[in-house]
Point group: C2
Chain length 333, copies 2
DNA sequence: TTGTAGGCGTTATCAT
DNA sequence: ATGATAACGCCTACAA
């Protein structure tokens, strides 16, 4: 591999001049520049990015922590981030936190040790205090789908409360009042906010919240089936089921069908996230759109603006969910 | 940030000694080691991985190129790779190729420029010759789901031909002989092999291959619906549909239902890949299992063994697909 | 076992 | 506009 030194020799100029044409951040005469360019071409020279990083203290890489690498939700999120960053020549190091505090911290340490220029985190288990502390460090930290007081400028998030409200409102407006709710894990902010929205909608329509029609799921298919099973075993009666994400809605549907329930006639279901597959579930799932791909884009833009000093980037910190009405809700009465 | 030099001062030893305890690759007396360890702790020292990389010519990072970051297939693949590599302290840089030759090459260049220790590629558009040439370079290249002559030791792949055979055999054994086939894009090796298996099975059972019941899809939901639509518009008659992946099967099912077809009674469908959602499709999709998560693991192990010289790693280069029988195939006659 | 010193390939600050 | 030269933080012969 050719080095900058060999290029400078072949072009009969100094090291510094070659560096200047590489970064083109200082005036170099056209003649000299051409000589250098030719020499680089002849040698097939490529700058060594590691050496560049060491000397410039900038690695051009941003570390991303997601809960899982697979799954429709994180897939969209990563795709959004990568597309934007890659176009700017930055690269992206992914790691996982699996929604567990230790693993999240471990992942963050891992990313820090790689000298990332910035961190984009989708963390769920770690405390706000930890994040506040982390933000005092050398590496700027950005948060997706999580709002931390004092870090507002570093957060890109969805109005989950509104989403929760919307879902419940939709169900109520179709005439339902016996409504079951399968939430996500209690400790996750997304779960809490969606549930809060649900309760606000109920209150708004004067429907009491019924603990017996509440189940804490896991945001996976099993959460949906387990929840529905639990309601049924306890002989609860309800005409509609709200699931805090589409995967649980999907699990619930599969289970409902095993029970022989006609969907949506005997049970209306609504999900949350609008993952790609939700329109291929039968009946097509009504859900709340979560623009996670756009949010990924936006977070990347935020990093580009703040860390890499790109100009003219419009940042939107809050995204509004909206209803996607399909076929999984029946009108009652 | 503390440097190795400050640690050496505080511990009153030389730079070299500190380096030795960091890498513990040379004998250091327990007393000295402890002094150094204490000093590191006191300063909150962390080695600068960039400097380590420059000096040692090893970045501890492996570059991964996938077609897409989202999607159930690549999600599983990435998760498999990351889990294994992360456990070994290596990090992982992802980028995308979008199944287009230019973008794939571009992605590979991008990865190379980051001095990855190895490349794991899932490329579909680039030629074999290009890969052969690439392999002559400094960075070892590993291939997933693609077999290139001369690079066999660097490939981890699935017997797609067998999978294609299995799918078709299953359908035939249920009494079907009018069988439509929606393939993946022609240029993708996976598509070609699955189709080859399909044809072999037909031949084996003395069923002629019917061009009119063949459609080239795109491996996405739309491919399935478009294919089915095309068959129907041309008034072809068939009782079973084989899709070269689950996403197309899902798209086809959704469309079939829009047409009012009873599934599986009026149309049997089988997919390929066994993505997570396939069991939540209604009727539950029969399909061919593609152990892509395990293949990701295995590829990572291969890199660990060959590039990072880990011992005792058993490598399996070929994976066999197997049938997952569920509810989307009806017995005929 | 421990220390010395040169090198890894750049960037960046001075001069000139 | 161009050239010396000192960082950047670490690894690794080689020497002691």
């Amino acid at each position: 591999m050719a080095t900058i030194y060999q290029v400078s020799e072949l072009a009969s100029v100094s090291l510094a001049t070659v560096s200047r044409v590489i970064n083109n951040n200082a005036r170099v005469s056209d003649k000299t520049r051409q000589k250098v360019l030719d020499a680089m071409a002849e040698l097939g020279y490529r700058p060594n990015s590691i050496a560049q990083s060491l000397a410039s203290n900038c690695t051009n890489s941003v570390g991303i922590l997601v809960s899982e690498l697979h799954g429709p939700f994180f897939g969209q999120m990563m795709a959004g981030i990568e597309a934007e960053l890659r176009a700017a020549g930055k690269h992206v190091i992914f790691t996982t936190g699996h929604s567990e505090e230790d693993k999240e911290k471990d992942g963050i340490d891992f990313l820090i040790s790689r000298n990332c220029d910035a961190l984009i985190l989708h963390v769920e288990a770690v405390t706000d205090d930890y994040l506040l502390e982390l933000s005092k460090g050398d590496i700027p930290v950005y948060l997706m789908s999580r709002l931390v007081d004092g870090l507002n400028e570093r957060c890109i998030s969805l109005d989950n409360e509104l989403g929760g409200y919307l879902a419940t409102q939709t169900i109520i407006e179709q005439g339902h009042s016996d409504i079951a709710y399968i939430a996500g894990p209690k400790f996750k902010p997304d779960s809490q906010d969606r549930l809060a929205g649900h309760k606000r909608a109920l209150a708004n329509f004067n429907i009491p919240f019924n603990e017996e029609l509440y189940f804490e799921g896991d945001f996976k298919e099993t959460g949906g089936s387990d929840g529905l099973k639990s309601f049924i075993e306890h002989k609860k009666s309800f005409s509609a089921l709200i699931c805090a994400n589409d995967e649980m809605a999907s699990g619930a549907m599969t289970y409902a069908r095993e029970l022989g329930l006609a969907l949506p006639e005997q049970l209306s279901i609504i999900g949350f996230d609008n993952i790609i597959f939700s329109k291929h579930i039968h009946p097509k799932l009504s859900t709340i759109d979560n623009p996670i791909f756009e949010m990924g884009h936006m977070t990347a833009k935020l990093v580009l603006r703040d860390v890499y000093k790109k100009k003219d980037l419009l940042i939107k910190h809050f995204f509004e969910p909206k209803l996607i009405a399909r076929d999984s809700i029946a009108h009652l009465g």
